[in-house]
Symmetry: C2
Subunit: 448 residues, 2 copies
């Protein structure tokens, strides 16, 4: 077993606080565990069976020692419950809240010491645990009917907050991004971001790691592990609790004091670790990295059927220090001959409202060697844009390793077109500026 | 008639270049005009009738002089067509492209002089004209099947670009924002943003004006009219062509050279005119202003059921120089008694995943007098959040003039909940940070 396999890939799981109904958190988690391929032991002294599974009065009665025990009982019961775990589990996830985040730091410290004494690795408290779609392992107390899970994919999520995980799930589904595995670790009494970073360094299914952090335990260790992970995967950090007031909020949320942000930030920069500016920036950055691989270069071609959208994109390119060089004169002359006289054969290349799908391919085929990255803008309200464009762009993308991003309007068949384009691994963004920032993420190299 | 009524509220309209089918732009516009309450004269020498309307070979044969003539014919024909307009129309919209934006500045100048000589007011060229939902008047060459129009409302759009209008329409529908009227003016050969600002100063249906600008004709006049409009309505400007490269793009789009942005920006600031940072910022700012009225104050209460979302919001508050003061001690003690022990009774007030709808109202009723603005975060993946929350928030909002904004996750019944909340005139935003920026727009006053 790899380290932390007991957490991400357990074979046997106990659920303390299992319940019969989805109105209770213990019922939601048990229902999610029904799909899990390993052995599940519900624990509840009031029942002999729950959702068709034999149920045990305590962890002590379970017929084998388990890899992982999930605890979903009130804070005041945790000490006694943990004592029963000695020799019965490799790790526990304490999902319950009511600890340092509401000022009960002493109780939390007592739990930490007890866990250490009896040799239990602990995740939480005040967390939702693990989601591993490759094993159908899901401990989150969010009903699947309410929070549909993302598909399998290459993005790992390491989140101190369950709420952020909840929001990420919805947005990742909407953006056609998939998850390799996801973990929330709450108050980080034992297992924290540094342990989890270490785990993901060698996780074959993960290309990108999202890390939502409110506070860091050991700063030096954090930086070392973050740097290590950054060397192997695309690590993108979203740090909350940046400002004095926000720090107070972060403290009351997970009970760990957020450090001085300016220091944190400058250290990340020094170590070359990516930090997202805010939630939306996180999504755009991760989307780009989960769809395509960055290359060196900074010369961008913008092909659009909307003049204004092209100008906004050009502005953002220059703000992001991306170049938008003019077309090579010979190629410009050739395109001028092929296209109607009123097309704007420049960069941005403006195919106007009278565009046809195939014009994009004509432009890209002519200019593919002259640029490092491509931004395609196709507003779907005009007659000549069809979902067929998705296939054309996909066929072009297949033949090149150069980054390509997409933007469209909320009109016509844009929903369908986005889904085709994203299946072809071209990420779509909701505004010209977001698309450019996505492209910027995929173009490394010398920026003046 | 008010000035520019011939443009926004014509009684008689001619369409030069009318066509029989929606595959042609002239067919799309004619179909849109079928809903118009005034008299419509299609012009096309090849047909006696189009879409059930008697059709004329030229503007000269139309039985009356019209308020507005729409021209959708190739650039090379415009001069001859205009000559026929003498005494036949008060104004023309030249929709055709192929002028200064592709280097044909001389032709454009010739048209300008001709229009002036024969006393025609001209909109365009290279534009889509007018949308006035209150008169069902719609000259845009975007099929309604592909680009659904926003509902009637209080936001006017003055856009140099048709593409940006196209994108705004989709997003405004999705955000439940309504339009008072909308105009695209392209190369601005005659009627430009200053004329249009003047029109909107006294437009009773408009509370907010979006102005998308690539280039400005007369800088001094622009500032004067913008200041005047800002005094009466909420004017929000999105300036494109900010950077040298972007300026080239803007030039090739509408053929007017974009000035030095730094000067433009500092002038706007000096005159207290609002400028959006980018397209997304424009949408968030306008959404806030179209839903609610700003008040003085900067003390924000955040009520959330997601700890992490609250911390991100608190961070953004402090970045935006909004205060998030602690709860008054007496009220905090009272709420501590009412709420379960594990709720975080602070600011942000964390109702946790075990929240119930009514908890929001309990908190708001207790604290409504202690804060100037409210951010409500309700992630819908948990059991206790239902669409009933929308009604509760709506009833609270009815009793207060203080700004209130909303954020939710893409999960559960969030779509339905957003629609109920927005019907109650509480704008919803897609991230905690966007919601805070929306609230910031609604809180004027002294910021340190």
């Amino acid at each position: 077993m790899r380290p932390f396999d007991f957490l991400f890939n357990p074979k046997t799981v106990a659920l303390i606080g299992a319940s019969h109904a989805e109105e209770k958190l213990g019922g939601i988690v048990l229902k999610n565990l029904l799909k899990f391929k390993g052995r599940v032991y519900p624990i509840n002294p009031k029942y002999g069976e729950l959702m068709g599974l034999k149920t045990y009065p305590s962890i002590k009665e379970v017929p084998e020692s388990v890899d992982l025990s999930l605890i979903l009982r009130p804070a005041a019961e945790i000490i006694d419950l943990l004592k029963e775990h000695e020799g019965r589990a490799r790790g526990v996830v304490i999902m319950s809240s009511g600890f340092a985040e509401i000022g009960e730091g002493e109780l939390q410290e007592e739990i930490r010491k007890l866990g250490k004494k009896i040799g239990l690795r602990m995740l939480g408290p005040n967390c939702m645990g693990i989601f591993n779609p490759y094993r159908s392992f899901d401990t989150f107390f969010l009903s699947r009917d309410k929070v549909a899970r993302p598909q399998k994919g290459n993005v790992a999520i390491v989140s101190q907050s369950g709420a952020i995980m909840h929001c990420l799930f919805g947005i990742m589904r909407d953006s056609n991004m998939g998850v390799s595995s996801a973990v929330t670790y709450g108050n980080a009494i034992d297992i924290d971001e540094t342990d989890l970073y270490e785990y993901y360094v060698s996780d074959g299914k993960t290309d990108v790691v999202i890390s939502y952090i409110e506070s860091v335990g050991n700063g030096r260790e954090f930086l070392e592990k973050a740097k290590q992970l950054s060397g192997k995967k695309h690590l993108v950090i979203l740090k909350a609790g940046k400002h004095p007031g926000g720090r107070i909020a972060a403290y009351s949320h997970t009970g760990r004091l957020a450090g001085r942000y300016e220091v944190f930030r400058s250290m990340l920069e020094q170590y070359g670790i990516k930090e997202a500016r805010d939630f939306d920036d996180l999504i755009d950055t991760v989307k780009a990295l989960s769809y395509q691989n960055p290359i060196s270069g900074n010369r961008v071609l913008i092909v659009t059927n909307g003049g204004g959208s092209g100008v906004l994109a050009a502005d953002e390119c220059l703000r992001q220090r991306l170049e938008i060089p003019l077309l090579p004169e010979q190629k410009r002359a050739r395109l001028k001959k092929v296209f109607p006289y009123f097309y704007g054969v420049n960069n941005p290349l403006d195919l106007t409202a009278q565009v046809k799908d195939k014009d994009y391919l004509t432009a890209l085929d002519e200019l593919k060697d002259d640029y490092d990255g491509f931004l395609i803008i196709a507003l779907t309200g005009v007659v000549g844009i069809t979902t067929g464009l998705g296939k054309l762009l996909g066929s072009f993308k297949e033949k090149t390793d150069k980054p390509m991003v997409f933007h469209t309007s909320c009109s016509g068949e844009s929903g369908k077109l986005i889904s085709i384009v994203e299946k072809a691994k071209i990420p779509s963004f909701s505004s010209p500026e977001c698309a450019v920032r996505g492209l910027r993420t995929l173009l490394k190299g010398q920026f003046v």
